[in-house]
Protein backbone atom coordinates (compact mmCIF):
# COMPACT_ATOMS: atom_id res chain seq x y z
CA UNK A 1 0.00 0.00 0.00
CA UNK A 2 2.20 2.86 -1.20
CA UNK A 3 1.82 6.19 0.49
CA UNK A 4 0.42 4.75 3.69
CA UNK A 5 0.11 7.54 6.21
CA UNK A 6 -1.52 5.90 9.16
CA UNK A 7 -2.96 2.51 10.04
CA UNK A 8 -4.92 1.89 13.25
CA UNK A 9 -7.26 -0.83 14.44
CA UNK A 10 -9.67 -1.63 17.22
CA UNK A 11 -11.52 -4.72 18.44
CA UNK A 12 -15.25 -4.13 18.91
CA UNK A 13 -17.64 -6.35 20.88
CA UNK A 14 -20.44 -6.16 18.31
CA UNK A 15 -21.30 -7.94 15.04
CA UNK A 16 -19.95 -6.53 11.78
CA UNK A 17 -23.37 -5.29 10.56
CA UNK A 18 -23.77 -3.16 13.70
CA UNK A 19 -20.27 -1.71 13.26
CA UNK A 20 -21.06 -1.14 9.58
CA UNK A 21 -24.09 0.98 10.45
CA UNK A 22 -22.06 2.96 12.99
CA UNK A 23 -19.43 3.91 10.44
CA UNK A 24 -21.73 4.55 7.46
CA UNK A 25 -25.01 6.09 8.67
CA UNK A 26 -24.77 9.90 8.59
CA UNK A 27 -26.45 10.44 11.98
CA UNK A 28 -23.99 7.94 13.51
CA UNK A 29 -21.00 9.39 11.64
CA UNK A 30 -21.72 12.80 13.08
CA UNK A 31 -21.14 11.30 16.54
CA UNK A 32 -17.61 10.06 15.91
CA UNK A 33 -16.39 12.00 12.93
CA UNK A 34 -17.57 15.30 11.47
CA UNK A 35 -20.05 17.63 13.16
CA UNK A 36 -22.37 17.33 10.19
CA UNK A 37 -22.27 14.60 7.57
CA UNK A 38 -24.17 14.82 4.33
CA UNK A 39 -23.42 11.59 2.52
CA UNK A 40 -25.07 8.63 0.82
CA UNK A 41 -22.87 5.56 1.15
CA UNK A 42 -22.83 4.39 -2.45
CA UNK A 43 -19.79 4.13 -4.74
CA UNK A 44 -19.21 7.42 -6.56
CA UNK A 45 -21.59 9.42 -4.32
CA UNK A 46 -20.47 12.98 -3.55
CA UNK A 47 -21.02 14.31 -0.06
CA UNK A 48 -19.89 16.96 2.38
CA UNK A 49 -18.49 16.95 5.90
CA UNK A 50 -18.54 19.89 8.25
CA UNK A 51 -15.94 20.22 11.04
CA UNK A 52 -16.72 23.28 13.17
CA UNK A 53 -16.55 26.23 10.80
CA UNK A 54 -14.52 24.25 8.27
CA UNK A 55 -15.70 21.62 5.86
CA UNK A 56 -14.92 19.79 2.71
CA UNK A 57 -16.28 17.48 0.03
CA UNK A 58 -15.91 13.72 0.15
CA UNK A 59 -16.48 11.06 -2.49
CA UNK A 60 -17.32 7.45 -1.66
CA UNK A 61 -15.01 5.02 -3.39
CA UNK A 62 -16.05 1.62 -2.03
CA UNK A 63 -19.20 0.57 -0.19
CA UNK A 64 -19.24 -3.18 0.28
CA UNK A 65 -21.39 -3.97 3.35
CA UNK A 66 -20.51 -5.12 5.91
CA UNK A 67 -16.80 -5.39 5.13
CA UNK A 68 -15.34 -2.46 3.19
CA UNK A 69 -16.02 1.28 3.12
CA UNK A 70 -13.69 3.88 1.69
CA UNK A 71 -13.83 7.53 0.72
CA UNK A 72 -11.54 10.22 -0.63
CA UNK A 73 -11.18 13.67 0.91
CA UNK A 74 -8.67 16.50 1.23
CA UNK A 75 -8.60 17.34 -2.45
CA UNK A 76 -8.43 20.74 -4.17
CA UNK A 77 -11.78 22.54 -4.49
CA UNK A 78 -13.32 22.14 -7.92
CA UNK A 79 -11.35 19.01 -8.77
CA UNK A 80 -12.48 15.41 -8.85
CA UNK A 81 -10.59 13.35 -6.28
CA UNK A 82 -8.24 10.82 -7.83
CA UNK A 83 -5.10 9.01 -6.77
CA UNK A 84 -2.46 11.66 -6.18
CA UNK A 85 -4.58 14.72 -5.32
CA UNK A 86 -6.51 13.39 -2.35
CA UNK A 87 -6.33 11.26 0.78
CA UNK A 88 -8.02 7.85 0.84
CA UNK A 89 -9.61 6.62 4.06
CA UNK A 90 -10.38 2.89 4.08
CA UNK A 91 -12.29 0.91 6.69
CA UNK A 92 -12.00 -2.88 6.72
CA UNK A 93 -14.30 -4.92 8.98
CA UNK A 94 -13.32 -8.47 9.80
CA UNK A 95 -15.64 -10.66 11.93
CA UNK A 96 -13.68 -12.39 14.71
CA UNK A 97 -16.82 -14.15 16.00
CA UNK A 98 -20.62 -13.56 15.93
CA UNK A 99 -20.25 -10.73 18.38
CA UNK A 100 -16.76 -9.43 17.77
CA UNK A 101 -15.39 -7.37 14.87
CA UNK A 102 -11.91 -6.16 14.06
CA UNK A 103 -12.05 -2.69 12.53
CA UNK A 104 -9.01 -1.48 10.62
CA UNK A 105 -8.64 2.03 9.28
CA UNK A 106 -5.92 3.31 6.97
CA UNK A 107 -5.40 6.76 5.61
CA UNK A 108 -3.13 7.04 2.59
CA UNK A 109 -2.18 9.46 -0.13
CA UNK A 110 0.19 10.11 -2.97
CA UNK A 111 0.13 6.60 -4.32
CA UNK A 112 2.50 7.77 -7.04
CA UNK A 113 1.27 5.91 -10.09
CA UNK A 114 4.54 6.68 -11.87
CA UNK A 115 6.58 4.37 -9.66
CA UNK A 116 8.16 1.41 -11.45
CA UNK A 117 6.33 -1.83 -10.58
CA UNK A 118 9.33 -3.35 -8.81
CA UNK A 119 9.54 -0.29 -6.54
CA UNK A 120 5.85 -0.65 -5.70
CA UNK A 121 6.32 -4.32 -4.94
CA UNK A 122 9.38 -3.67 -2.79
CA UNK A 123 7.48 -1.01 -0.91
CA UNK A 124 4.52 -3.31 -0.35
CA UNK A 125 6.75 -6.18 0.79
CA UNK A 126 9.10 -4.28 3.05
CA UNK A 127 7.23 -1.23 4.13
CA UNK A 128 4.23 -2.18 6.15
CA UNK A 129 4.99 0.58 8.64
CA UNK A 130 3.02 3.81 8.27
CA UNK A 131 4.65 7.17 7.93
CA UNK A 132 4.13 7.89 11.59
CA UNK A 133 6.18 4.83 12.51
CA UNK A 134 8.75 5.68 9.87
CA UNK A 135 9.22 9.24 11.15
CA UNK A 136 9.29 7.99 14.72
CA UNK A 137 12.06 5.58 13.89
CA UNK A 138 13.96 8.24 11.98
CA UNK A 139 13.69 10.67 14.87
CA UNK A 140 14.97 8.11 17.37
CA UNK A 141 17.90 7.14 15.14
CA UNK A 142 18.72 10.81 14.93
CA UNK A 143 18.39 11.34 18.68
CA UNK A 144 20.73 8.43 19.39
CA UNK A 145 23.35 9.84 17.07
CA UNK A 146 23.19 13.32 18.54
CA UNK A 147 25.80 13.84 21.26
CA UNK A 148 24.58 14.57 24.78
Amino acid sequence: MPGLVVEREVLIEAPADVVWRTITEPDQMSQWFADRVDLVVEPGAHGYMQFGDQGGPVVVETADPPSRFSFRWNYPAGEEPVTGNSMLVEFTLTPESDERTRLLVTESGHELRDWPDEEKQRYADEHREGWAEYLDRLASVHAERRPG
Binding site: A14, W32, F33, G56, N74, M87, H110, W131, V141
Partner: protein, 116 residues
Protein backbone atom coordinates in the same frame (compact mmCIF):
# COMPACT_ATOMS: atom_id res chain seq x y z
CA UNK B 1 -6.82 17.94 7.21
CA UNK B 2 -3.34 18.29 5.74
CA UNK B 3 -1.72 21.53 4.58
CA UNK B 4 0.19 22.09 1.31
CA UNK B 5 3.47 22.14 3.27
CA UNK B 6 2.62 18.67 4.61
CA UNK B 7 1.80 17.50 1.10
CA UNK B 8 5.31 18.35 -0.01
CA UNK B 9 6.69 16.44 2.94
CA UNK B 10 4.50 13.38 2.35
CA UNK B 11 5.43 13.25 -1.33
CA UNK B 12 9.08 13.57 -0.35
CA UNK B 13 9.03 10.58 1.99
CA UNK B 14 6.51 8.47 0.04
CA UNK B 15 9.19 7.38 -2.42
CA UNK B 16 11.13 4.33 -1.15
CA UNK B 17 14.41 5.31 -2.84
CA UNK B 18 14.19 8.74 -1.29
CA UNK B 19 13.57 7.22 2.10
CA UNK B 20 16.74 5.22 1.62
CA UNK B 21 18.68 8.43 1.00
CA UNK B 22 17.04 10.16 3.97
CA UNK B 23 17.79 7.15 6.21
CA UNK B 24 21.48 7.42 5.31
CA UNK B 25 21.61 11.17 5.92
CA UNK B 26 19.87 10.76 9.29
CA UNK B 27 22.07 7.92 10.53
CA UNK B 28 25.39 9.35 9.27
CA UNK B 29 25.02 13.13 9.03
CA UNK B 30 27.27 15.51 7.07
CA UNK B 31 27.53 13.32 4.00
CA UNK B 32 28.21 14.19 0.38
CA UNK B 33 26.15 13.16 -2.64
CA UNK B 34 28.96 10.93 -3.90
CA UNK B 35 29.28 9.19 -0.52
CA UNK B 36 25.54 8.51 -0.65
CA UNK B 37 25.74 7.31 -4.27
CA UNK B 38 28.25 4.66 -3.17
CA UNK B 39 25.74 3.18 -0.73
CA UNK B 40 22.53 2.93 -2.74
CA UNK B 41 21.64 0.75 -5.72
CA UNK B 42 20.84 3.69 -8.00
CA UNK B 43 22.78 6.32 -9.94
CA UNK B 44 24.55 9.39 -8.63
CA UNK B 45 22.16 11.43 -10.77
CA UNK B 46 19.15 9.87 -9.03
CA UNK B 47 20.72 10.61 -5.63
CA UNK B 48 21.13 14.26 -6.63
CA UNK B 49 17.46 14.45 -7.66
CA UNK B 50 16.31 12.90 -4.38
CA UNK B 51 18.43 15.36 -2.41
CA UNK B 52 16.80 18.29 -4.24
CA UNK B 53 13.31 17.02 -3.29
CA UNK B 54 14.34 16.38 0.33
CA UNK B 55 15.89 19.83 0.54
CA UNK B 56 12.74 21.45 -0.91
CA UNK B 57 10.61 19.63 1.67
CA UNK B 58 12.91 21.04 4.36
CA UNK B 59 14.03 17.62 5.57
CA UNK B 60 17.72 18.05 4.74
CA UNK B 61 19.96 21.07 4.26
CA UNK B 62 23.22 21.52 2.40
CA UNK B 63 26.38 23.06 3.78
CA UNK B 64 28.91 24.32 1.26
CA UNK B 65 32.07 22.28 1.39
CA UNK B 66 34.28 21.19 -1.48
CA UNK B 67 32.59 20.60 -4.80
CA UNK B 68 29.14 19.32 -3.91
CA UNK B 69 28.53 20.26 -0.31
CA UNK B 70 27.55 18.15 2.67
CA UNK B 71 24.01 17.17 3.65
CA UNK B 72 22.50 16.94 7.10
CA UNK B 73 19.01 16.37 8.46
CA UNK B 74 16.89 19.38 9.47
CA UNK B 75 15.97 18.39 13.00
CA UNK B 76 13.17 20.96 13.45
CA UNK B 77 11.34 19.83 10.35
CA UNK B 78 11.75 16.17 11.24
CA UNK B 79 10.47 16.79 14.78
CA UNK B 80 7.48 18.77 13.53
CA UNK B 81 6.63 16.08 10.98
CA UNK B 82 6.91 13.38 13.65
CA UNK B 83 4.55 15.29 15.93
CA UNK B 84 2.07 15.90 13.10
CA UNK B 85 2.00 12.19 12.28
CA UNK B 86 1.60 11.20 15.92
CA UNK B 87 -1.33 13.62 16.17
CA UNK B 88 -2.97 12.12 13.06
CA UNK B 89 -2.63 8.62 14.55
CA UNK B 90 -4.05 9.86 17.87
CA UNK B 91 -6.98 11.44 16.03
CA UNK B 92 -7.88 8.10 14.42
CA UNK B 93 -7.49 6.35 17.77
CA UNK B 94 -10.03 8.76 19.26
CA UNK B 95 -12.42 8.17 16.35
CA UNK B 96 -12.05 4.39 16.60
CA UNK B 97 -12.68 4.55 20.36
CA UNK B 98 -15.89 6.51 19.70
CA UNK B 99 -16.98 3.99 17.03
CA UNK B 100 -16.34 1.15 19.49
CA UNK B 101 -18.42 2.86 22.18
CA UNK B 102 -21.31 3.59 19.79
CA UNK B 103 -21.36 0.14 18.18
CA UNK B 104 -21.16 -1.71 21.50
CA UNK B 105 -23.99 0.42 22.94
CA UNK B 106 -26.13 -0.21 19.83
CA UNK B 107 -25.43 -3.95 20.06
CA UNK B 108 -26.38 -4.07 23.76
CA UNK B 109 -29.60 -2.20 22.98
CA UNK B 110 -30.44 -4.61 20.12
CA UNK B 111 -30.04 -7.57 22.48
CA UNK B 112 -32.36 -6.06 25.07
CA UNK B 113 -34.93 -5.28 22.41
CA UNK B 114 -34.80 -8.83 21.06
CA UNK B 115 -35.38 -10.29 24.51
CA UNK B 116 -38.44 -8.14 25.35
Amino acid sequence: MTTPADDELWSAIADPSRRQVLDLVVSNGDVSASWLAGRVPFSRQAVAKHLVVLERAGLVSRRKQGRGGLYQVQTDRLDRATRAMAELAAQWDRRLAAIKRLAEAAHAENKIRRRS
